[in-house]
């Protein structure tokens, strides 16, 4: 074998604490190494060109690159050697940056370690074999989980790209949190007016199948060929008949039903249509409050329904869909702010969340757009906004910034002034984070044009005082003085967290999630839409806090990823999968038992039972290889011999 070794300086990142030239020199003494060099930037164009040149000039049939982590540039250098005519699996990398030069300054130790890691790579490479990828068909349909603005955008872009879309929404209507907002910053245009048309497009697009009031039950398969089980929760209304006329909601006697869409600021009926622009505009019965379902007597809605759509005996339904790719856009929920006992822990009616305030501001809200205090319906004159409630607060396990609160608080202050001209707004803030386009100008307007009083500091205590007002005690850290404000209404900018059930969904998708339940992207900077599971992409807040424009952008980005994936008729399967040596296999069945993916089956070959790997199902974990006593099943590119070669290189005394 003829191996070429390239020790990357990575500028001074590696060369700063590793003697690259010396490592190259040592590498030349390793078996089969016929060429070694130490370029300045191996991943840069000239660096890659040098590798290609060396492959031709020295007739190399294997290459070792010692540089950064293979998790960073393995794909890059695989393409490089491929361009020079080698099989991409005849490349090995030694991680001498993250694992050597960056974690210690001892030049001697680092150089020695780097040389050893190169030796590991060489020994492994000497046992490498060219691997050929197999190809398989792609089912060009996509599943979008979550019908918020990010999911809607992803669905529409995919559908416009000619891809059939299955859109699953947990609630009775799509629209997500944005549908609950009154106006949007920084332009203060009506949320419903800009989102509404998109929602209608979803309903009317011939490529989109919408399952509202449904949840993903189970996901199996792999990129290109996922099988998804969807649970259509019972609405007790046959949507194929329901026209959304609303007759039932007018007659329903259970008028005390808490209104989830209005964030519990108002009440609704047991049978209800979330809001006038709901998509789909269909009625849903809330079984906790429906008298018919609870007591078995009432049946008013059934009587008044002109199409006879009411079905009290309706049950959940499981639907199976086949798709080739999945976009997760499950959004967020507000954290449970009642842990803040100093703010009353939810006991004071006039201390509400910002999302509830949106509903009070909204013309389609419970107060028809007239701001009224929940306690006595009076119009508040002094409104205090408290930011960072459940954001940037370690004491409640929420150290991260929720990103958009600064902006919507400014927006709400402005809207408050528009609604109640003789009102006065105060904002307690830690820092104002307004990095977006036109954002800082916007917060300035809130202060300068609308006279909102911004107080830099946290609120220590909120309590009701004599004449039904709230006393808000805090500190002005700029003046270094305690402040106390009498408020008619207190609005808490409650921090966001990943939506309920995100971890469970992540398990089903086999993607990772962080300690707050946000889904993990493949690479924080370079792969913000991809996940570690091929064919699964992320959009919106489920991946990390972001505002509407960013969510929409990521929705489109996810769609672009899907369309790119579907631009190929066949996908290449990763050849790094298990292979059975049928001569050695004694059909003991241990591998079949262990395989987490059921990727191994028993087949009859010349009258003998043998194990066989289903190539498209095998994910390449290698559990079978470490289970097979006679080593008959080997994981390509991580065979016993390849790992043994590395062990022997290190331990040979």
């Amino acid at each position: 074998m003829r191996i070429g070794v390239f020790i990357c300086h990575c500028g001074s990142n590696i060369a700063g604490t590793v003697d690259c030239a010396k490592v190259a020199a040592i590498a030349r003494t390793y078996p089969d190494v016929v060429y070694a060099d130490d370029p300045m930037y191996t991943c840069a164009e000239p660096g890659q060109a040098a590798i290609e040149a060396a492959i031709h000039e020295h007739k190399l049939d294997g290459v070792v690159v010692a540089s950064c982590s293979p998790r960073m540039h393995e794909p890059t250098f695989r393409r490089t050697v491929e361009r020079a005519g080698l099989n991409r699996y005849m490349l090995e990398m030694a991680n001498i940056r993250e694992h050597v030069s960056w974690i210690g300054k001892d030049m001697e130790a680092n150089t020695n370690k780097a040389a050893e890691l190169v030796q590991l790579a060489v020994e492994k490479l000497r046992n490498n074999k060219p691997l050929m990828a197999k190809s398989f068909d792609v089912n060009k349909r996509v599943l979008v989980i979550g019908g918020g603005v990010a999911g809607i955008q992803a669905a529409l872009d995919c559908a416009d790209g000619g891809v059939p879309v299955v859109l699953v929404e947990r609630e009775a209507t799509i629209g997500g949190k944005m549908a609950k907002l009154d106006k949007t910053f920084p332009t203060v245009d009506c949320s419903a007016c800009i989102l509404g048309p998109k929602m209608v497009d979803v309903a009317q697009h011939s490529n989109i199948t919408l399952y509202a009031y449904s949840e993903v039950e189970d996901i199996s398969g792999y990129v290109g060929n996922f099988t998804v089980k969807i649970r259509k929760r019972s609405t007790y209304v046959d949507w194929s008949l329901c026209t959304g006329c609303g007759a039932c909601t007018e007659k329903c006697p259970a008028k005390k039903t808490p209104d989830a869409f209005n964030e519990l600021t108002g009440t609704t009926t047991a049978i209800t249509i979330a809001f006038p622009q709901a998509i789909p505009k269909k009625a849903v019965i809330n079984p906790q409050f429906c008298r018919q379902l609870l007591k078995g007597k009432c049946g008013v809605c059934a009587k008044v329904c002109p199409t006879g759509a009411i079905k009290y005996d309706m049950e959940d339904e499981i639907i199976t869909e086949e798709v080739g790719s999945i976009v997760a856009a499950t959004g967020y929920d507000l954290m449970d702010w009642t842990v803040y006992k100093e703010y009353g822990g939810g006991t004071y009616p006039d201390v509400i969340t910002s999302l509830q305030y949106e509903r009070l501001l909204s013309a389609s809200g419970p107060t028809g757009g007239h701001v009224k205090r929940p306690s006595d319906g009076r119009e508040p004159k002094n409104i205090v906004f408290v930011q960072c409630v459940g954001s940037r607060d370690k004491s409640v396990g929420r150290p991260y910034c929720s990103g958009f609160c600064c902006m919507y608080t400014a927006k709400q202050a402005i809207l408050t002034k528009d609604h109640i001209p003789d009102s006065k707004s105060f904002v307690f803030y830690m820092d104002i984070r307004a990095p977006g386009k036109m954002y800082d100008e916007f917060t300035r307007r809130a202060m300068e044009e609308y006279g909102t009083e911004y107080i830099r500091g946290r609120v220590s205590q909120i309590y009701p005082d004599a004449n039904g007002q709230m006393t808000v005690m805090g500190v002005d850290t700029l003046l270094g003085q305690p402040v106390e404000i009498k408020a008619d209404l207190v609005v808490l900018a409650v921090g966001v967290e990943a939506s309920k059930g995100s971890p469970q969904l992540a398990e089903k998708l086999r993607i990772s999630y962080d300690s707050y339940g946000f889904f993990m992207e493949s690479h924080v900077k370079l792969k913000p839409v991809e996940t570690n599971t091929a064919g699964v992409y992320l959009a919106g807040v489920c991946q990390g806090v972001k505002d509407i424009p960013a969510s929409v952008a990521q929705g489109s980005a996810a769609a672009a990823k899907v369309l790119a994936l579907f631009s190929k008729d066949k996908l290449e399967s990763d050849p790094q999968i298990a292979q059975v040596d049928i001569r050695r296999c004694v059909n003991c069945g241990k591998c079949i038992r262990c395989c987490p993916f059921g990727a191994i089956k028993e087949v009859e070959i010349r009258g003998e039972g043998k194990a066989q790997v289903i190539e498209t199902v095998c994910q390449g974990c290698g559990l079978c290889t470490s289970t097979c006593p006679q080593g008959a099943i080997q994981l390509s590119h991580a065979t016993d011999n390849q790992i043994l070669a590395e062990v022997n290189a290190l331990c040979q005394c």
Binding site: D581, R583, R584, V586, C588, K590, R593, C594, T627, P629, Q630, G631, A632, Q634, T639, D640, N641, L644
Partner: protein, 226 residues
């Protein structure tokens, strides 16, 4: 498959029997009594009482009658008490780490690398495809060193982890009498301790512990790195 069984009253440790018989040219015959046998070799009688000359495993045997049989004749044998530490393992337990290393050094120097232990093992399913003499995968060299030989014993022990029923054939078959049971016994002890007293070979429907898992392991705990 059909299983026929009789309750077992113990079998002889032929290694020790031969030791006491010493050199002989011919065995004339064997006479049995309740408690033992008398072997007449070259006209000389040697009595071997079962209680002194049984195989090590027989003393701690808790299953004299078959645990599974289609035809099981005779009365079930009463066993009182649970098995203690087997003698081979007890020997190792009595040593320090360094002594154990030295012990295996000595034992492995005596190993002929004849693989009789492997061939006698009913649980060795690999048969002709043992990794000890394959090049792909190439786990072992053919070098006749204590290291390689001990490594083979480890391979065998590990392949038997959670499967070895302690039948002792490996050790019985060893021509130089190395107490290699100890390695299997140590694993058996670990498996029993980790998996609620699991003993291989009692219930055909059980899953061997190393071919399964629990999401939360009752007896395996995360170590802290403070």
């Amino acid at each position: 498959m059909t299983i026929f069984a009789l309750p077992c009253e113990g079998t002889l440790d032929m290694a020790r029997v031969n030791q006491d018989l010493g050199r002989y040219t011919k065995i004339d015959g064997v006479t049995y009594d309740e408690a033992g046998v008398t072997i007449t070799a070259d006209g000389k009688d040697h009595r071997f009482c079962m209680t002194d000359y049984a195989q090590g495993k027989c003393y701690g045997c808790t299953t004299p009658s078959a645990v599974l049989a289609d035809t099981l004749l005779g009365q079930p044998v009463k066993v009182d008490g649970a098995a203690g530490t087997p003698p081979e393992l007890a020997l190792l337990d009595s040593m320090s780490l360094d002594e154990r290393l030295a012990f295996w050094r000595g034992q492995m120097d005596r190993c002929l690398r004849c693989y009789a232990c492997r061939n006698a093992c009913p649980m060795c399913v690999c048969r002709d495809y043992c990794v000890s003499d394959s090049r792909d995968p190439h786990w072992m060299t053919q070098e006749d060193s204590a290291k390689e030989k001990l490594f083979f014993q480890t391979i065998h022990a590990m392949h038997l982890a959670g499967r070895c029923t302690g039948c002792g054939e490996c050790q019985r078959a060893c021509p130089v009498g190395i107490p290699i049971m100890a390695l299997r016994q140590q694993i058996a002890r670990a498996v029993a301790q980790l998996f609620d007293g699991y003993q291989p070979g009692l219930n055909p429907d059980e899953v061997p512990p190393l071919l399964g898992y629990e999401v939360v392991e009752k007896n395996i705990h995360e170590r802290d790195w403070k």
